[in-house]
Amino acid sequence: MATDRSKRRAWTLGVVAAAILTVLALTGGVLTGLRSSANLIVTPFNWTVNEIARPIGHVFAGALNYSDVVAQNQKLRYQLGQAELKANENWPLERQLQELSTELNVPYVGGLPMVAAQVTTVSPTNFAATVDISKGRDDGVLVGMPVVANGGLIGSVIATTPRGATVRLISDVNSAVGVTFGDGKSSLVVTGRGVNNGLVATSVPLSTAITPGTKLATNGLEGALYPPGLPVAKVEKVSLTPGAATYNLTLRPTADLRHLLYLDVVLWEPPA
């Protein structure tokens, strides 16, 4: 009797699970459905933990870092003033550059439309360097669009929902960006090394003249995933293995990837 009941229960559970999976599959993918259902379930728990943890964190942060925060605030005000001054000084040059780029048929990023967004979540895992942002398909954000912040390229959009998107940072192990430097004749591929671990470029031919401090920007070659001229990284270290025909570069991203709060999605789609 008990076995019959448990068999019936197992069948019912199986049918319900199959029905749910079918509905999820028909309405936008099983994984998307699973993600939204899991989000829905975890949200109240997240909220509760956040409400408890945030004030405790603030007390500690306030007690330990107050003078640092005040100093940082003053420094930022000074930097903002400097940036405003520079922007005012540079606008005629920027306009000139934009006009020249238009003539040369090069998409200059300053002239491309952008959508400002806020970072809502930073990837909770060690194995993916991604952030979730507050703008999605409804605001024109599409998969593949480059994302800039803090003075440089930070990554590209890899997934979108109507009101949000996921951005893969250039430090992610699956990220690869084509870059160039100097006169733009040489190209390299910059890859990520994981969260907070900077970037690398490997197998760089010895004929490439590159020194620490060299700035790298996207090359925008035909079929590239990014428009040209986006600052990506600065060479920190050049390593040469004795006897090797190539050297490796350790790079520091131009944009500070650790403190992302606001960013801009460049409304530029890579060629299909």
Binding site: P124, N126, I158, G194, N196, N197
Partner: protein, 165 residues
């Protein structure tokens, strides 16, 4: 039911607190320590369910291959429950350092399992992150947190048993 609720809280702590509190850029994976601790209490099926729930809920919040965190959590839970059933790592009968050492080994092995599992999901780039740092940080954190988390796991398992009866 108590185990499920606590597991959801563990996932919430992982997502909201621990993802922001990185040690040398590494996130301490409580979603792996929790099933391991549940396993050490000796309740195999409960530990496996906990591992599955914690892993799947965590996986839905990341862009890494779906199910990989859950798979690693299941392996840890199963391994720990085999030891737990033998009384190894029991908080009362075993030496005080056994549980932290077992948890430390779990923390050391888990990132490796994850990276190896990535190959099955055709993602061969996971090893390029700092796996060694992940192993060291997680092993240390698991050792420190092992006893309090296992104590909580034992209380939750017993509460679950009482509810079932």
């Amino acid at each position: 039911m108590p185990a499920l609720l606590v597991t959801l809280f563990v996932v919430a702590v992982q997502l909201t607190v621990l993802s922001a509190l990185r040690v040398d850029g590494v996130v301490i994976m409580l979603v792996w320590l929790w099933p391991l601790a549940m396993g050490l209490t000796g309740f195999t099926s409960l530990a496996l369910v906990t591992a599955l729930v914690a892993g799947v809920f965590f996986d839905t919040h990341t862009t890494t291959p779906f199910g990989l965190t859950a798979a690693v959590a299941l392996v840890l839970a199963y391994g720990a429950s085999r030891l737990g059933r033998e009384g190894v790592g029991d908080l009362d009968s075993a030496a005080w350092y056994v549980t932290p050492i077992l948890a430390g080994v779990g923390g050391l092995v888990a990132p490796l399992l994850y990276t190896a599992g990535g190959a099955f999901a055709l993602n061969f780039n996971l090893w390029r992150g700092s796996v060694l740092a992940m192993m060291i940080v997680n092993a240390t954190a698991f050792m420190v947190l092992a006893r309090p988390v296992t104590r909580l796991a034992r209380a939750v398992s017993h509460a679950g048993e009482r509810v079932r009866r």
